[in-house]
Structures are given as C-alpha cells and as structure tokens.
C-alpha cells in the first residue's frame, strides 16, 4: 500500500527539506507544498519521496505514526 509516513522536517535549505521518520533521513523538495512549513513541522511525501505532498498537523501525524509503529512492531511491514 502507498503508506504515507508523516516525516518531521529537521532542516530547510533553498526549497529542499531534510526530513526524518523512524530514524531514516532523506531530502525532499518543498516546491509542491501550498502551506508554509518550518523546522519541526510534519509533511507527507509523494510516491518516490522526491516531493513533499502535504503538511500534516502534529496531532494527526502523531496518530498516524503510532499506527505505523504498531505495523513495524507487528512485523507486517
């Protein structure tokens, strides 16, 4: 499934963000985002991860991350 993993922005440089989720770090373009984002915000990446697709509110991100942590723990991932 095209699981969208909310990723936390740890740095922003010239339209590119460094994001973190479950310990993995990657860079993604912010060019497709409508909302302004800052370090500490959560975003969901599009398929392939090259572009952030959507900003996610922290409480929604927390709920999704808790579910995804369960998926990882269960060995279903």
């Amino acid at each position: 499934m095209c699981m969208a993993v909310p990723s936390r922005i740890v740095a922003i440089d010239n339209g590119m963000a460094t994001v973190e989720a479950f310990g993995a770090i990657r860079t993604t373009s912010l060019m497709l985002l409508e909302d302004e984002v800052a370090v500490g915000d959560y975003v969901i990446l599009g398929a392939g991860g090259n572009f952030a697709a959507e900003k996610v509110e922290p409480e929604v991100a927390a709920e999704a991350l808790a579910y995804l942590a369960d998926v990882l723990d269960s060995g279903l991932a």
């Binding site: 095209c2 985002l33 697709a53 959507e54 991100a61 709920e63």
Partner: protein, 390 residues
C-alpha cells in the same frame, strides 16, 4: 523507516537479445490493514486518509461504504453524489499530477510544478465546499452544505489545468484517433510531448498485452475470496479464476472512441494506456461539472455504529477499483482488509509481464521498461534491474 518504504521492483533477464524473464515483486504493505482491528469504525476512518494520504479521499470513502454496508445502513443518494464528485476530483488531480510532475521526467524535461502545486489544495477546497464540518467520510453521510461558488471555482481551476497540460482544447484532442494524432504531432505541452516522443521512437504499441478488464464492481467472487483470505495471499496477488485482471483508466475508458481506436491499432501498448488517463481527465471533468449542478444539501446522519456485520466498500479510485472489507462486532473492528488496484495492475503474471516478455533487449531497454511501468501508473516507486545472461 526501512520497513515502511514500500515499492515495486522489476527485474528483467536478457537472453539471446530479448527479455527472457520478467520478475515483478512488491514490498507494498498489503497486510498493514490488519493492525486496524480492535479500533472503532470512527477511529479507522479518522486515520485512513492520513496514512494513505495520496489517495486519501478514495480510502476514506471506501472505509465509510464498507462500514455502512456492514451495518446495513447505506448512505442516501445526495451523499453518494457528493462522494462521487470528491472521487472524480481526486482522480483528475492524481492523473494531472502524473502528467505535470512525472511525465516530463520520461522525456528529460522539467516538470510544471507551478500547475502541479494547485492540485491538492483544489481537492481540499472541494471537500470543504461540500462538507464544511470536515465529515466527508462519516458513515451514513456528513453534513452536506454545498458552497456552489467555491465548488464552481475548483472545477474551473481544474479545467484550466487540463487546458494547460493539453496545451489545447482537451475535448478536441481526445475526440478521435485522427484529432489525437494531429495533436500528438504538434508535441506541445507535457502530455503531447511524451506521446510525441513515444510515437517518433516507434513505441506506440510497446508493452502491448491482452487486456483483461475487471467487471465494473469487481470480480464476482470478490467477497468470497477476501473472506477466505486469511494469509493475505489474495490481497497481495489477486486473480479471478486464476486470471489476473486489470482495473485502471484503460479498462474504464475502453469504450471511448479514441481509446477503442487506439486499442484496435496498438492493443494495450503505451499510447493506449497514456491516452486513457488523458481521456479520463476530460471525462471526469465533464461528469464533475454535471454533478456539481445537481448536488443538493443534506443533513448529517448519525449512523448507529454499535452493530455487527461484514461489508465491502468499493470505490473507483484514480488508479482503479479500491475495495475495503470490514468485519464489525458490536461496534469494534474485528478484521479489516484493503485490496488496492496496484495489486491487480502489477500482478506478477499481469500486463507488465506480458508486455515486456520477449521485448528486444537493444539499447534503451531500461527507458522502454520505465515507460511501460509509467503507463500502468503504480502508486509507489518502481525500481528496474536488468541482468544480461550469457
């Protein structure tokens, strides 16, 4: 995040100058929906559009329909119309995003990010224009209060984007094989640019395979197969009587005059598949505009979610039929299943394998394989590996 990094991998084995083996593997998390068990339907519906954000409308509405069917409380007609409109807008946005963001990469040109950027906000605005309280996926139906000017504006924005990606009047380009060929030969805009490349390289029919279209509401044995699918094998590699079927823009638009004409000449090759997505943009826009005129307000319904039962929710998502199956026991989810279109369309014995098996392994094979994958439109990234045997 390693375990959550789902994708498809395609491995081609070359022998004697042609593709002798096609191995398609998926690491998509087709079992993850099991972890939804133990939650209430409301909790499931709250979380699904976030964890499947890229087709969140389809996921939320499939969940709502599954719960409604399990409880024997179908949504009333005005709600079904509004939901159909939301699905159409998501479908247009997803196809347009593909053309604007991803198709240019296939010809080595720059994506049109300025236009692509407007698509997701348009979907969010459409949801708000129909369901101001944000309860668009509520079982039974949310409070439907149509903000017509806002809705009209979103459809107008989408029409503008369609004109931009066609760089012409979309309906005329898709009218017939002749008007389509004339438009492709001009090569203007991201859609015609890709199709022009494909045509010039003689690849219109590349990757052709017999098309086994799925019936409109899914295979007849869908419920039985899902019910019996305790090991998750069916949800990972679905078939109907042993035959992998397709569910996508091509199977939905096969009867359109342009697509019927292209299928006759090129079978299920590149041009038929890419064109079907373009036709789907124009047809969905028309249907959305018509629906928007006919929508009426409706109160929110408090479905009684405390019951028990099993139900399927089927929705036409951008990439094909999406099915959710739910078993409820006194208001708690006991079992949750999701069968997504990518599992049908990228079946290891499906159209990608048929289309690539026996293909010439001359220079540019990886690019041709990349085109065949893009034409089938996976919802995750796909890696390609080519191994040449002596």
């Amino acid at each position: 995040m390693q375990g959550l990094e789902a994708g498809i991998s395609l491995a081609l084995g070359i022998e004697g100058g042609s593709v002798a083996s096609v191995d398609i593997r998926s690491t998509r998390l087709v079992q993850a929906s099991r972890m939804l068990a133990g939650r209430t339907p409301a909790q499931v519906i709250a979380i699904l559009p976030t964890i499947f954000a890229l087709c969140g409308t389809a996921q939320g509405l499939a969940a709502a329909a599954a719960v409604e069917n399990a409880l024997g409380q179908p949504a009333p007609p005005p709600q079904r119309m509004a939901r159909r409109l939301l699905l159409l807008v998501e479908t247009i946005a997803e196809h347009a995003l593909g053309v604007l963001r991803d198709w240019p990469a296939l010809t080595g040109t720059q994506p049109d990010l300025a236009a692509a950027k407007t698509l997701r906000p348009c979907l969010a605005a459409t949801r708000r224009a129909l369901y101001p309280d944000g309860d668009w996926a509520r079982p039974g139906g949310g409070r439907l209060a149509v903000a017509r000017p806002v809705l009209d504006e979103q459809i107008s924005i989408l029409s503008g984007i369609a004109e931009r990606l066609f760089a012409a009047a979309p309906d005329e380009c898709c009218e017939s094989p002749d008007t389509f060929a004339a438009w492709v030969s001009r090569g203007e805009g991201p859609a015609a640019a890709l199709l022009n490349h494909i045509h010039r390289d003689g690849l219109d029919g590349f990757g052709r395979s017999p098309v086994h279209p799925m019936a409109e509401s899914g295979p007849a044995d869908l419920d039985d197969r899902l019910r019996a699918d305790h090991d998750g094998h069916y949800a990972a590699r679905p078939d109907c009587a042993g035959q992998p079927q397709e569910t996508n823009a091509l199977t939905r638009r096969m009867r359109h005059p342009l697509i019927a004409g292209l299928l006759e000449r090129h079978g299920g090759g590149l041009v038929s598949r890419f064109a079907a997505r373009l036709v789907e943009i124009t047809a969905s826009l028309r249907e959305a505009a018509d629906l928007a005129q006919d929508l009426c307000d409706a109160p929110g319904t408090d479905a009684d979610l405390a019951g028990s039962g099993r139900g399927l929710g089927r929705v036409e998502a951008a990439r094909g039929l999406l099915v959710h199956g739910v078993e409820l026991e006194e208001g708690v989810v006991r079992r949750y299943q999701i069968l997504a279109p990518t599992e049908w369309n990228f079946h290891p014995r499906g159209p990608l394998r048929h289309g690539l098996l026996g293909a010439g392994a001359g220079p540019g094979l990886e690019r041709r394989a990349r085109l065949a994958v893009a034409a089938l439109d996976p919802c995750v990234a796909c890696t390609i590996e080519i191994t040449r045997h002596a």
